[in-house]
Symmetry: C2
């Protein structure tokens, strides 16, 4: 068994049986980082000593001995938290973020901090796609996705305001989960646009996503799902942005659900939801600029993209922001009707495979639609496209139906050919 | 004119006309702090030099030269931010909170950091009521309310998760505003229970609240309201917790609105809203403990009340939290029907005047009901009770109707006898 490719349940079994020690698990990952990360750039800080000490301290709990990475917009008491920015060079927070601490207390071992776009925004991290260095790994949780895809962590925490967990997970061919807005602790997370910001996780499988969610929410370790959900295929007003090969993978997932006995039906997105992309843009710009206001005196040292975000946000007047934010709330109130009798919506996650070029982390629109609505979302790989690169699909559920969502994703993974 | 009792518009006029200089305004407040604060304990840190320098730097903007206090759970780049706790002794954040920076950029001058209950929770600050040192000023924004009431700041930022702006403002006989959840920037604010946390403001009048809101939201400085709102008198399921004298003040406000030409009608709170208090308790406990998880190794040094909050939160299982959080979302979706054709609800803000004793900051239930629903809320003083102490009322509006709410509060203030 390759320790750096194993999932959480396998590692737990191997460690529990004594066939594998926690220090062995940690060393295997540190070795892999030493061998590969110079060419990928997933980590901005590796705490080998800290990880080794934690491994020797007999970790206990549902994630005992599982090594993970932490996006560098989440505070760590024992490592700097630089937000992908020279504005926070060497900044050392006093305490762990709530999300980090909870996983540590569940036995998880932090290997290091993963690269992020500056301020979890649009200025890309210096991370490349593990399968093709000419391509973006996606972002803003670039390092988290690349680390998991390359076997340099069993899972990694990320954050999503637009599509910052879903997109890199899909591009890198791994699984990603953005829980219901507000369900995971936010202490020690850099606020970007606070109406959308959510801590999330990238892992090797939907089952691992469910394991991390259970640890974070103090729920029992999940058992395998027993029922097939009712699935609505929702192409959205953005369907014409989806490439033929990505669309084919979404259709294949719908057919797989159907063959497995799920009721699958088209769910058209009501006309008014098409306005969400524009409303979201206004709210995002206004909130990001407001939260950045404390950096105003230093913003000239930030990257061009971040300076532009700040400037653009300052052009949004308060009245427009209020109108857009209220419109988003109305759309959220209509979500229940949108889902109807479907527990899950199936939709596209990206327009296609990871694009060539490291100057952009890709198109966020297909992912951000559901962040805007505060729904939980999962992406799992369901095929390949150009150059043999992975293609994912996205599953979405009503807010607070995270467990049903994760069950559906686990189902779907069992249906892959 | 007493500079330390003047409102924002008056100070703006006096400064604009040259009858008063910004350094004079700042010195008057520093003198007042030096004279009074040893007996009140509103400030935990006063930056006299910083305030003087800012006064000499020719501040510009809608709040030019207006001195304000900042609750010590909001980051300041030039002063420590101690969260009311020895866990954060001397902690110096790298940047201003977004809310603080925005007001500074509007010309406001920070005098210092105001005392807070530990972590904006229940362990009281060492602040007493400006009118009676045997009584609590309310909390958790204790210092902010006491500073404004005692003329030691023109206004002060606070935060509210339950009733932490409304309650101290009402007890201290000043005005308080908690905007719509999510509308003011949250960067640099200590998360408590993130589903409810909102930055707010305490000031001398509803007009001043509107001025600060305009500066924060980059809206025009508000003109006087022209129309009388339609008011629903909402006694809530907590009406039997309200003292006779506090109830009388609420009824008097209803009558005043009515005499001024407002349509006033009773609005009963639907039966299911009575469950909100219990749901809110679960959600609050779970989220606070999750956000506190990073402090776990140091929590033994925190105050007893905070340790209990952490322990209690850890007893809430994830499934109960999810069920309660989903129930709160359903109640929020029913808000529009609750308001009906009323723009504003009028309700009680506290059970009575500030209670004797500094061991508790008072009963949060009447205030937290509306924080839970994410509504904007205002309190203004509308009478006196036991010992001549002030009694307030609370006005509430639909989310994102903050401007209408502030207009109604300004109306009500003009109707005081």
């Amino acid at each position: 068994m390759d320790v750096t490719q194993a999932d959480i349940a396998t590692l737990r079994t191997e460690i529990g049986s004594g066939r594998l020690s926690v220090p062995q698990v940690v060393e295997a990952h540190l070795d892999r980082i030493a061998a590969l990360d110079a060419g990928i750039g997933a980590y901005v800080h590796v705490d080998a000593d800290g990880a080794r000490q934690a491994a020797l301290a007999r970790p206990a709990g549902p994630l005992a001995g599982i090594p993970f990475g932490v996006k560098d917009v989440l505070d760590t008491a024992d490592m700097p938290t630089e937000q992908g920015s020279t504005l926070y060079s060497d900044y050392q927070p006093p305490f762990d973020a709530g999300s980090v601490a909870r996983l540590r207390h569940a036995g998880g071992i932090v290997l290091g901090k993963t690269a992020t776009a500056e301020f979890a925004g649009t200025a890309p991290a210096a991370t490349c796609h593990p399968k093709d260095p000419s391509r973006t790994p996606g972002g803003s949780s670039s390092g988290s996705a690349a680390a998991v895809a390359a076997g340099m962590a069993t899972f990694a925490l990320g954050t999503q305001t637009g599509g910052s967990v879903m997109r890199p997970a899909a591009f890198c061919g791994v699984a990603g989960f953005k829980p219901t807005f507000g369900s995971w602790p936010i202490s020690g997370m850099l606020p970007a646009a606070h109406g959308f910001d959510t801590v999330g996780v990238i892992a090797r499988s939907a089952n691992d996503l469910a394991e991390v969610h259970a640890a974070m929410m103090r729920l029992p370790v999940p058992s395998a799902p027993e029922t097939v959900p009712s699935v609505g295929l929702c192409r959205t007003h953005l369907w014409d942005t989806v490439s033929e090969e990505a669309a084919r993978v979404v259709e294949a997932a719908a057919q797989a659900f159907s063959r497995a006995g799920a009721r699958v039906a088209d769910v058209p997105l009501p006309q008014e939801f098409a306005a969400l992309t524009a409303h979201r843009r206004l709210v995002n710009a206004f909130e990001r600029a407001a939260n950045m206001e404390g950096w105003a005196g230093a913003i000239g040292s930030a990257r061009t993209e971040s300076q532009e975000v700040f400037s653009r946000g300052l052009t949004v007047d308060g009245a427009s922001y209020i109108a857009a934010a209220a419109a988003l709330d109305r759309a959220r109130a209509d979500l229940d009707a949108l889902f109807g009798d479907h527990a899950i919506l199936l939709t596209a996650v990206t327009p296609g495979v990871a694009p060539v070029g490291l100057g952009s982390t890709g198109d966020p629109r297909l992912q951000e639609l559901w962040s805007t609505l505060r729904c939980p979302a999962v992406t799992v790989t369901f095929g390949t496209g150009t150059g043999g690169l992975p293609l994912g699909v996205q599953l979405v559920a009503r807010p607070w139906s995270d467990l049903q969502l994760l069950d559906a994703a686990r189902w779907l993974e069992t249906l892959r050919s």
